[in-house]
C-alpha cells in the first residue's frame, strides 16, 4: 500500500512537473514569437493594422508617450460596477466565495503551520538525540500531506469563482497587483519541491550531515510557505486599507507601497501565530482519535505523548494571540476609527460575545486537558488544591466575558429594569471588564501550564523557596495591576483612555509568562525527576483535544468574517464600492450557519486526510484462494 501511495504522490509530482513545463512554455513561446517578429507582421498585414484594444496608433501613441514623459501618466480609476454587472448564477455569489475561501484558508493555515512546528520538533530531536521526536515529526508531516492538495483544490476553485462572480473586482485587483500574483504562483513550485523532498527524504537524510540537508529543506519549505502567506495577506489588507493608490483607486505607487499597507504586518503576525495554534489543535485531534482507538499500552503511550505535544503547541501559540489581535485592532483604529468602531462597537460587536464563548471553550478545554494530564505524574498531588482556584477564576472570568452590555428587552422589561442596561450586569458588559477577564484567564492558563510542567519535578537548588516566593509575588502584583488598571481607567476616565489601559494590562500578563518561564528554567535546571506514565490519562481528557480544533476552526471562520465585514459595502475600502446583491452585512444567525457549514465541511475533509494518511500503513493480506482460482 505504501508503494501505491508513493505512486499516487509521484503522479502528483509529475502533474506539478507538467504544470511547471506548461508554465515555462507559456513564457517561452511568446518569447519565440517576439524573436520571429517579422513573421507576425506578415500575418496581420493582410487585414490592416491590428492593435490591442485601447492601444493607440503609432502617431497618437508617440504623442501620448511624450505626455507621460512630461510626468503626467494617464491614471485609471477603480471600476465602479453597477448591480447588473455582477453575474447572477441563481445562488448567492457571496455564499459560494465564502465557503471556498474559508475552506482554502483552513487548509492553507494547516499546511503552513504543520511544517513549522515539525521543523521545531525535528530540531529538538537532533539536539536531544531522542529519535521519538524525529518519528513524531515525520508522522505529523504524513497526516498533513494530503492537506497540500486539498488547499490547492480549494484555492483554484476560489480563484475561478472570484473571476466568474466578481469580474470587475478581480480585474481591478489584477491591475493593482500585476506581476506579484505570478510570483505568488511561482512560489508554489518551490513549495512543492521542498515539500516532497522534505517528506520523502526523511529517512534517506536521517543522520549526520545529511540530517542538516534535511533540516535545510524543511527551512526552505517553511520559507516558501510563509512568503506565499504574506504575499496573499497583502490582497486582504489592501481591500481593508488600500495603499499605493489615490482616492479613486488609480495606482500611484509601486508594488511594495501597495503591499505595505498599515494592516499588512499586524495581519501577517496574527495569522502566523494563529496558524500554529490551529495546526497544533488539528493534529492533536488526530492523536486523541488514535489514542481512543487502541488498547495497546505502547500505542496509547505514544499517542498520549503526541496529543500532549500538540496541545502544548496549540496553547503556547494561543497565549500570545490576543496581543497580536490587540495590535491589529489598534492599527485598524489608527487607520480608521470608523472601521474600528464598526468592528468593536457597531453591528459586528455582538460577534465578540460569540468569540468570548469560543475562546472560553479553548481555554477551558486546554486547562482541563492539563489538569487531567497531571494524573500521569506522581508529583502532581501537591498542586491539586490550586486547580480548584484556577477553575473558579476561569469560570467567573468566562461569565464576565460573555456578559452582553445591552439586552434585548420588551418595553415592560425595560421599565422593570429601569433602563436598557442592568445595574449590575451593565458595567460588566463593557470592554474594561472584559479586558480584566481575558487577562486573568490567560494568567490562570499559564499557571495551569506551569503547574503541569512542575508536577514531575522537584527543585534541588538552594534558592527554591525564594524563587517560589518571588514567583507568587509576581503573580499577585500582576493580577492586582490588571484589576486596578481595568477598574480605574475603565470606570473613572473617558472612553478614549479605556482601551489604552489594556496595553498595560497585557504587559502585566506577558511579564507573568516571561518571568514564570525564566524562573522555572533556572530553578528546575538539575531538578529531581519523578516518574511519569504516558498513556495514564482518562479517556474523557481526549475530548478536550477534539473541542480545541472545533473551537479553533469556528473561531477562525468567525474572525475572518468580522475582518472581511468591517469593509461594509466596499470591495476595496473607500475606493471600490460593492454594488452586488450581497453588499450588506448578514445577520449573526446567517453567519453562524455559514460558519457551521464550513466547519463541518472542514471536519469531513480532515477525516479524509487522516484516513488517507493511515492507508499508507495498511497492507491487504493476499487472498488465500486467489492463486488456486487463477490456476
Amino acid at each position: 500500500m505504501s508503494i501505491c501511495l508513493l505512486r499516487v504522490d509521484s503522479m502528483a509530482f509529475m502533474k506539478r512537473l507538467f504544470l511547471l513545463f506548461l508554465f515555462l512554455f507559456s513564457v517561452v513561446l511568446p518569447a519565440e514569437a517576439v524573436l520571429a517578429g517579422g513573421k507576425i507582421q506578415e500575418n496581420i498585414a493582410s487585414v490592416g493594422q491590428v492593435r490591442l484594444e485601447g492601444q493607440l496608433p503609432v502617431e497618437v501613441a508617440a504623442e501620448s508617450v511624450s505626455v507621460a514623459a512630461a510626468g503626467e501618466p494617464v491614471l485609471e480609476a477603480a471600476p465602479q460596477p453597477r448591480r447588473s454587472d455582477y453575474p447572477d448564477v441563481g445562488v448567492s455569489s457571496r455564499a459560494i466565495v465564502w465557503i471556498l475561501a474559508q475552506m482554502h484558508l483552513f487548509f492553507a493555515a494547516l499546511v503552513l503551520a504543520v511544517p513549522l512546528f515539525v521543523l521545531m520538533i525535528e530540531l529538538v530531536g537532533v539536539f536531544t538525540g531522542d529519535e521519538r521526536y524525529d518519528d513524531m515529526a515525520h508522522e505529523f508531516m504524513k497526516i498533513s500531506l494530503t492537506g497540500f492538495s486539498i488547499t490547492a483544490i480549494f484555492g483554484g476553485s476560489l480563484a475561478l469563482a472570484l473571476f466568474m462572480l466578481y469580474p470587475d473586482f478581480m480585474g481591478y485587483m489584477m491591475r493593482v497587483f500585476g506581476a506579484q500574483v505570478l510570483v505568488y504562483a511561482l512560489l508554489f513550485f518551490f513549495e512543492s519541491f521542498f515539500l516532497y523532498t522534505y517528506y520523502y527524504g526523511w529517512n534517506a537524510f536521517r543522520y549526520g550531515n545529511l540530517k542538516w540537508v534535511h533540516l535545510t529543506l524543511g527551512l526552505l519549505l517553511n520559507a516558501s510557505g510563509l512568503t506565499i502567506m504574506v504575499l496573499s495577506n497583502a490582497w486582504a489588507t489592501f481591500m481593508m486599507a488600500p495603499s499605493g493608490v489615490n482616492e479613486v483607486g488609480a495606482v500611484v505607487g509601486n508594488i511594495w507601497e501597495i503591499m505595505k499597507g498599515p494592516l499588512w504586518n499586524p495581519i501577517n503576525l496574527h495569522r502566523f501565530i494563529a496558524n500554529i495554534g490551529f495546526g497544533g489543535a488539528v493534529v492533536g485531534a488526530y492523536a486523541a482519535f488514535k489514542f481512543l482507538s487502541t488498547s495497546d499500552p505502547e500505542r496509547r503511550a505514544h499517542y498520549d505523548w503526541m496529543g500532549y505535544t500538540s496541545n502544548f503547541i496549540a496553547i503556547l501559540a494561543f497565549l500570545p494571540l490576543p496581543f497580536a489581535g490587540y495590535w491589529l485592532m489598534a492599527e485598524i483604529y489608527a487607520y480608521s476609527q470608523q472601521m474600528g468602531i464598526t468592528a468593536m462597537g457597531g453591528i459586528l460587536a455582538w460577534l465578540f460575545i460569540v468569540q468570548a464563548v469560543l475562546i472560553g471553550t479553548i481555554l477551558l478545554a486546554g486547562n482541563f486537558y492539563l489538569w487531567a494530564g497531571m494524573s500521569r505524574t506522581e508529583g502532581s498531588e501537591r498542586y491539586k488544591p490550586l486547580i480548584k482556584v484556577i477553575a473558579l477564576v476561569l469560570v467567573v472570568s468566562f461569565l464576565i466575558w460573555v456578559t452582553p452590555h445591552t439586552l434585548i428587552l420588551s418595553a415592560s422589561e425595560v421599565s422593570k429594569l429601569g433602563g436598557s442596561h442592568h445595574h449590575i450586569l451593565g458595567p460588566l458588559g463593557i470592554m474594561p471588564a472584559k479586558n480584566i477577564a481575558v487577562n486573568l484567564m490567560l494568567v490562570a492558563t499559564f499557571l495551569s501550564f506551569q503547574l503541569y510542567r512542575r508536577s514531575d519535578k522537584v527543585a534541588t537548588v538552594s534558592w527554591a523557596p525564594l524563587g517560589n516566593a518571588l514567583l507568587i509575588a509576581v503573580y499577585v502584583a500582576a493580577v492586582a495591576n490588571i484589576i486596578f488598571l481595568g477598574v480605574y481607567f475603565g470606570y473613572f476616565t473617558n472612553t478614549v483612555y479605556k482601551v489604552g489601559s489594556s496595553v498595560a494590562q497585557v504587559s502585566s500578563t506577558l511579564v507573568v509568562i516571561v518571568f514564570g518561564l525564566v524562573i522555572d528554567s533556572l530553578m528546575f535546571r538539575s531538578a529531581k525527576t519523578l516518574p511519569s506514565h504516558w498513556g495514564r490519562i482518562p479517556d474523557r481528557a481526549q475530548y478536550a483535544l477534539f473541542a480545541l480544533p472545533i473551537a479553533f476552526t469556528w473561531l477562525m471562520a468567525l474572525m475572518g468574517y468580522v475582518r472581511s465585514s468591517v469593509k461594509t459595502h466596499w470591495h476595496v475600502y473607500t475606493v471600490m464600492k460593492d454594488n452586488s446583491p450581497d453588499n450588506f452585512i448578514p445577520t449573526i444567525g446567517y453567519a453562524g450557519n455559514m460558519i457551521t457549514l464550513v466547519t463541518i465541511l472542514f471536519l469531513l475533509c480532515v477525516l479524509f486526510m487522516f484516513w488517507v494518511a493511515n492507508l499508507s500503513s495498511m497492507r491487504q493480506g493476499k487472498p488465500e484462494s486467489a492463486g488456486g482460482e487463477a490456476a
Binding site: S64, A77, V357, I550
Partner: protein, 275 residues
C-alpha cells in the same frame, strides 16, 4: 466505529452549540446605504429635518462615535444644544476656522474636522491638534452637500432652534447630480485629444493614420470630408448619417460619457485631419 461515532457526535454537538449562541443574539442586518430620491416639489423643512435625522443615525454613521458619556468617542452632539455649543466653540481662542454661525460651524466640522478639535477628543498623542473624525464628504461616508445640509438642519431643529439652512433648490440639485456623474466616472477629464480618443475606444474601430476601414471608416482625412459641426453630430448622434457600406455599430452614448471639453477637443482634432 464506536470511537468515530462518539468523536463525530461530540464534535458536531459542540459545533451546534456555537451555532445556537449566534441565534441567542440580536439578528440585525447591516444594510448598505440605499439611494433615496427627494422630490423637491413637495419637500418641506420638516421633511428635510427628518431626512437629516435619518442620515445622522444611518448613512452618516455619526452615532458610531457621537454617543452619550461614557460610551462616546466624540462629543455627544445629539445631547447638546448645537447653537449654544457652536457659540462657545467659535469664541474659543483655539478656533481657527471661518464659520460665523452654528450652521456653518456644523458644516465646517463635517468637511474639515481638523480645523477645531474639542478639548479631550483629539487623536491620542496629538494634544488635541488632530481630529480622529473622517471627512464625511469623502469615502467611505461620502455625504453630498444636500445630505450634510439635512443633518445640519436636524442638529439645529432637534433643540427647537431656528433652522437657518435653506432647502435644496433645483439648481443646486442639478449641480449635485452633475458632480456625482463626474464622480461616478472617477476619472479626471482627458487632457489631450489623443487621450480622449483612446479612453472612449475610438481608435479600436477607426484608423487615425490611414483610410483603411476597420469597423468604421478611416479618419485620416475626415477633416476634408466633414466640417466641425458634422463631426460633432456624428459623435453625438451617430445614427443621423451612416457612411455607406458600414454597419450602424457606433455607440450612441458618447454625449453622456464625454465632458464638453473632451468632445470639443476630439472635434477640433478630427476637423484638422485633412489627409
Amino acid at each position: 466505529m464506536n470511537v468515530l461515532g462518539k468523536t463525530m457526535g461530540f464534535s458536531l454537538g459542540l459545533t451546534l452549540i456555537f451555532t445556537l449562541v449566534t441565534y441567542l443574539l440580536p439578528q440585525v442586518k447591516g444594510e448598505a446605504p440605499v439611494e433615496k430620491k427627494v422630490d423637491l416639489d413637495s419637500l418641506t423643512m420638516d421633511d428635510f429635518v427628518a431626512l437629516g435625522d435619518e442620515l445622522f443615525h444611518g448613512k452618516g454613521t455619526c452615532t458610531l462615535c457621537h454617543k452619550p458619556a461614557p460610551l462616546g468617542r466624540a462629543p455627544d452632539i445629539e445631547g447638546e444644544d448645537m447653537v449654544a455649543t457652536a457659540a462657545e466653540r467659535l469664541s474659543d481662542p483655539r478656533y481657527k476656522g471661518v464659520a460665523t454661525d452654528a450652521a456653518s460651524y456644523i458644516h465646517e466640522s463635517m468637511v474639515e474636522p481638523g480645523i477645531y478639535v474639542v478639548a479631550g477628543w483629539g487623536k491620542k498623542g496629538s494634544d488635541d491638534s488632530e481630529s480622529p473624525m473622517p471627512h464625511v464628504n469623502k469615502p467611505p461616508i461620502q455625504l453630498s452637500d444636500m445630505e450634510m445640509d439635512a443633518i445640519t438642519a436636524w442638529l439645529l431643529a432637534k433643540d427647537g432652534n431656528e433652522v437657518t439652512v435653506a432647502l435644496p433648490a433645483v439648481e443646486a440639485a442639478a449641480r449635485a447630480v452633475e458632480k456625482s456623474g463626474v464622480a461616478a466616472r472617477s476619472q479626471e477629464p482627458a487632457r489631450a485629444p489623443e487621450e480622449a480618443l483612446s479612453r472612449y475606444g475610438c481608435v479600436s474601430c477607426h484608423s487615425m493614420d490611414s483610410r483603411d476601414a476597420l469597423v468604421g471608416p478611416g479618419l485620416v482625412d475626415v477633416g476634408a470630408r466633414l466640417d466641425a459641426d458634422e463631426i460633432r453630430q456624428s459623435i453625438l448622434d451617430p445614427a443621423a448619417v451612416i457612411v455607406e457600406g458600414f454597419p450602424p455599430a457606433m455607440p450612441a452614448d458618447f454625449g453622456d460619457r464625454m465632458t464638453v471639453n473632451e468632445l470639443e477637443m476630439i472635434v477640433q482634432y478630427l476637423a484638422e485631419k485633412k489627409g
